[in-house]
């Protein structure tokens, strides 16, 4: 993890040959109390380094299972996942190890409530032994200031708004210079206005670090606005149904939301998403998450 200190170098310096995720024939079968549930069935996906890959699908279809498999929170039943050519999990190793090369930002926010924002962000480098406590704190403070949170850096997560907390959580992830940033519907519980600001903040951080992003959402517009590729997933069991390339150039801002190109992309993807959503609704899916 030597690139932690370089996490904020200008783009291009950190060789973007990192963060190549290769998911091959992944299957996951849950067995709560003797009844089999197939969450993911023979799913394959290639994510290029530095790509923003958006995963869209109805609730409970198994997208979070994919994320959990990559992050190492769950084991897999069949198939393999590779990261930069190295095996994360596979037949002989059903559960990936958890580590700071694939950091997760959680749906309901998982900033430690008992630490200030600074201490939260400084946590990663500190426990990995890369920086001393003072050094980590200083770096955390500067990164928080860059993200517009300089004034509230010494407050507790319970004292700041959810928008600020979520941004801080992303900073907490990025300070570790991860290869992949995994986001599990992070803006789900936010109002549209805060969401749009969050999007722009994320894009700005992405432009700086060019980290591979694996972003789960059920908001189609969000996925087209943020992503390089949008993968539409089928309802349970989860499989890649349709993949759409987003060719809109970066850096992006909210003005592209009105552009013809954007509307075309929405039209292209909407049918697929709507079809799966109807199927899920009829099946009466309960939230697996």
């Amino acid at each position: 993890m030597a690139n932690a200190a370089h996490a904020y170098d200008p783009p291009g310096k950190t060789a973007a040959k990192q963060g190549h995720i290769s998911i091959r024939n992944l299957s996951k079968v849950y067995d709560p109390e003797g009844v089999n549930i197939t969450a993911v069935d023979d799913c394959s996906l290639e994510i290029q380094p530095g790509e923003v890959c958006m995963i869209v699908g109805p609730s409970g279809c198994g997208k979070t299972t994919l994320l959990n498999a990559i992050a190492g929170f769950h084991s897999i039943s069949a198939g393999e996942i590779f990261l930069d050519g190295e095996l994360l999990c596979g037949p002989k190793k059903p559960q990936a190890s958890q580590g700071a090369d694939r950091v997760v930002v959680f749906q309901n926010g998982a900033l430690f409530p008992w630490k200030t924002l600074t201490d939260n962000v400084a946590y990663g480098p500190m426990v990995q032994g890369l920086l001393s406590k003072a050094q980590a704190r200083e770096k955390a403070r500067s990164m928080l200031a860059d993200a517009g949170l300089g004034e509230v850096a010494d407050k507790y997560p319970g004292e700041v708004s959810s928008g600020m907390a979520r941004r801080a959580e992303i900073v907490r992830a990025l300070i570790n210079g991860p290869k992949v940033l995994l986001l599990d519907e992070p803006y789900r519980a936010m109002d549209a206005l805060t969401k749009s600001i969050m999007h722009e903040a994320l894009l700005e951080m992405y432009d700086r670090t060019k980290v591979t992003i694996f972003f789960i959402t059920h908001d189609l517009e969000e996925s087209i606005f943020l992503g390089d590729r949008v993968v539409v997933m089928t309802t349970r069991p989860c499989r890649a149904k349709k993949i759409v390339d987003i060719k809109i150039p970066r850096p992006r801002d909210y003005r592209i939301l009105h552009s013809e190109e954007f509307r075309q992309l929405v039209a292209e993807t909407k049918d697929a998403v709507h079809e799966e959503a109807t199927k899920a609704f009829e099946a009466g899916e309960r939230e697996l998450a």
Binding site: V29, D31, E33, G34, V35, N36, I76, G90, K92, P94
Partner: protein
């Protein structure tokens, strides 16, 4: 293809999920628990018998009767009427005090939760008296009440009363105000609000308070029986039984008494929990 995770895929037979129950009964957790219990009993047995075998007193454990001796004594006691009479008396005291506490406590708690003025008037004296341990009331109770039975009942009542009221109050006040608003917007009357929302919404807290209160009631009954002598010579309740055994030097009976009360307390709490499940079917789904 890799080795799949547990795919027992057992179809429920007779509507019962055998896989789940089998795992619970014979799983690793139960094995360890059983092992621990056996180790505990062994340690106890060896420690208390050490003197008989080797003539050396083990500290603490060596001074209490051995499990085997206790079981033997228990076998004898099962035939004696006095033992079962003690059971009966303690249980009677517990239930009278407990039910009295529920009868007074639940309405009192609900009234305080629902009516602000009631709470403002009655909460301060309640809170001021609460830190005084119920047992501290025993002498005052003995002075006041004409019979010993009534004084014990009063102290028992006090013990459970505080707990129940606090739980009811907390539970009623934590009901999401949106439920009330939703009901009101659909035209519910004050009585409806109370009987259909506040009352069922408080039920979980009532049962929690009851379960905890039950535990406290047993504590207080045993304590009161020990302190006040239990009333009559024979069968003055299980607390008195323990004290009497100590005074009379039959040490094994002490342990028998202790375990008996433990069982009684556990059974009563289980009954309350089962009743809770009965009254609140919606909770079992989670």
């Amino acid at each position: 293809m890799s080795a799949p995770s547990d795919t027992s895929g057992s179809v429920p037979f007779l509507g019962i999920n055998w896989a789940k129950h089998r795992k619970m009964l014979f799983g690793k957790s139960t094995q360890r628990g059983v092992l621990a219990m056996i180790a505990f009993l062994l340690l106890w047995e060896v420690g208390s018998r050490w003197y008989d075998w080797f003539g050396v007193r083990v500290p603490i454990i060596g001074l209490i009767p051995a499990p085997t001796a206790v079981v033997e004594s228990w076998g004898d006691l099962i035939d004696s009427a006095g033992y079962w009479l003690s059971w009966y008396q303690s249980t009677l005291r517990v239930f009278t005090g407990f039910i009295a506490a529920m009868i007074f406590g639940i309405p009192f708690g609900l009234a305080m939760a629902v009516n602000r003025y009631f709470r403002d008037i009655f909460f301060p004296p309640f809170e001021i008296l609460r830190p005084i341990p119920p047992l501290a009331w025993v002498p005052a109770s003995l002075i006041f009440w004409p019979t010993q039975e009534m004084s014990i009942a009063f102290v028992t009542f006090l013990g459970a009363f505080y707990t129940i009221v606090i739980n009811v109050l907390g539970g009623a006040r934590s009901i999401d105000v949106r439920y009330l608003r939703a009901a009101r917007s659909m035209g519910a009357s004050q009585w409806h609000l109370f009987s259909r929302i506040i009352l069922p919404g408080t039920l979980p807290s009532i049962f929690t308070g009851a379960a905890v209160g039950m535990g406290i009631t047993w504590e207080v009954v045993v304590a009161a029986e020990m302190i006040s002598g239990g009333g009559r010579q024979e069968g003055g309740g299980l607390g008195f039984f323990i004290w009497n055994s100590y005074v009379g030097g039959s040490l094994e009976q002490i342990v028998v008494g202790m375990i008996s009360i433990g069982i009684a307390g556990y059974v009563s709490s289980s009954i309350i929990r089962k009743m809770g499940d009965l009254f609140m079917p919606w909770r079992q789904l989670f």
